[in-house]
Symmetry: C2
Subunit: 303 residues, 2 copies
């Protein structure tokens, strides 16, 4: 483990505006979502998953993606990502001016069919098409491999499956591959194993991880990912977010709690922890529920 | 980081009957505390902090330590520890038949005075006396260094202070030195640093760690401790326990959540995770509050 021995830098990608909000009972207006993004940018966040171009009838919380993209602050060095699952979504994403396209491919067939209505193989065909079109438009595209650590219907995801999907990402020129523990079952040994397999399968792509803290392993997984040299970690201000197929899921790892651990362990992120903690609390008032993050309750240290 | 690369074993010391209960609003009877201990032993736990020999007027939750010790199951290989702060406590501990004595020395003077009414230097003098007397009686004695990662009144604890205390532990023949993050402020880089300092200062003693998950770093800290070769980790069934000087403290790391992370990462403990999760839920019914542990809510995996 290198943490605490050398000075490291990790990019934290704020997913609050998308994964943090898409399963909340209360849908926030585009203006509120723009305000959330503004707060994150002011706090120093440089990558934000801002919007999702899924069908707003299926995910009303994500309606108005174009309006959100029109209102986000255009600051040098800040990159906005939009989630895309099909050609229609890509067209909307390109029209709205996202800086990156993020395509989610679910590693298990059952979960893929229930979540996106297609098998993994069908989604991979869509991936190839979306990636080619995005590249033709000059926009970088990454693949997020969902349920990479386990599936609520099929159990543990075979690690060979992750390598196979990462190879497909690499072949289509993905700038980044993300391994997502969508239902919060992953453990550090898996992070290490999958990290090495993904890097071998997709050597040109940056490696990103996405953790939920459903069984209290999220931060230990994040620590292991940094130790394995992962370039990017997803997190959500306040720790909001869940998964409709994992009802007890306690949300994404919270950005402020992640920053507390990383900064005090000598891993820089360029993000203001106190400002994100305030943002998490503010988001809680909008959503009418307390933030799952612990930092806002316990306070920073030293005070 | 070795986790996931080699097969490891870690001893988990169950502190639920003592640290888990001593700050709860509802005091459990000695019979309930014996039932908790019985459940832990049946689940495979082999070290248990069973009782505290502090003044029952000051800590009514710990009253009846002698009664608890009379009722615990005497099973081959199971060791019961009693917390001791002075000579009077040691006499009670020896009379009650504990297998180990645990002396808590607080690393910062302000916290020591508020918690135990003595300076750290005064407590160290008591430590020397208690250790000599315990050894004369043939009972092993260990030192727990409280507030090792930070103090609510003095801020970060200088790491040299921990080394100094560990040297005093070693000099008096401690079989174990524990570093306790009493208020839940520690981060992985500190675990690594303090672990190395303590091992150098007390090479004959086993190294134990005690974490609280107040700022969501508890499990990442535990992971780092195992990676550093720590022999023993404290945890509490259900994740109960707090600190009167850290009101937002969310309790000890939960035994069941720790086991989930360790077992699935190839670190054996010999303890039945499902049985401890049931015990955590059962303890919640006794205390009239839900267990902070997440495993009981989310369920194991694979199911």
């Amino acid at each position: 483990m290198r943490i605490g021995l050398v000075r490291l830098h990790t990019t934290v990608l704020e997913v609050g505006p998308r994964d943090g909000l898409q399963n909340e009972a209360k849908a926030l207006s585009p203006d509120d979502r723009i305000a959330l993004i503004e707060r994150c940018v002011e706090a120093g966040v440089r990558r934000i998953e801002a919007v999702s171009f899924v069908n707003p009838k299926r995910v009303p919380q994500m309606a108005g993606a174009e309006e959100v993209m029109k209102g986000v602050p255009r600051v040098e060095g800040v990159s906005y990502s939009g989630l895309v699952l099909n050609r229609r979504g890509l067209d909307r994403a390109l029209d709205s001016g996202v800086d990156e396209v993020n395509v989610v491919v679910v590693a298990s067939d059952t979960f893929s069919q229930r979540n996106q209505g297609v098998t993994t193989a069908e989604m991979l065909a869509a991936w190839d098409d979306i990636a080619a079109s995005a590249h033709a438009a000059g926009v970088p595209v990454g693949m997020t491999i969902a349920a990479a650590f386990g599936c609520p219907f099929e159990g543990e995801t075979p690690p060979e499956r992750i390598a196979e999907l990462a190879r497909r990402a690499e072949a289509a020129g993905a700038f980044e591959v993300a391994l997502a523990d969508t239902i919060g079952v992953g453990v550090p040994a898996q992070v290490r194993d999958l990290s090495r397999r993904a890097k071998e399968a997709a050597p040109s792509a940056a490696l990103r991880f996405h953790f939920h803290n459903t069984r209290n392993t999220g931060y230990a997984n994040a620590l292991t990912a940094v130790d394995e040299g992962a370039a990017v970690l997803d997190a959500s201000a306040g720790g909001f977010g869940g998964c409709p197929f994992a009802p007890a899921a306690t949300g994404n790892i919270a950005t402020e709690d992640l920053l507390y651990m990383l900064h005090r362990s000598g891993v820089a992120t360029g993000i203001d922890m106190a400002a994100i903690a305030e943002t998490g609390a503010w988001l809680g008032t909008l959503l009418d529920k307390p933030a799952p993050a612990l930092l806002g309750r316990a306070g920073g240290f030293p005070a």
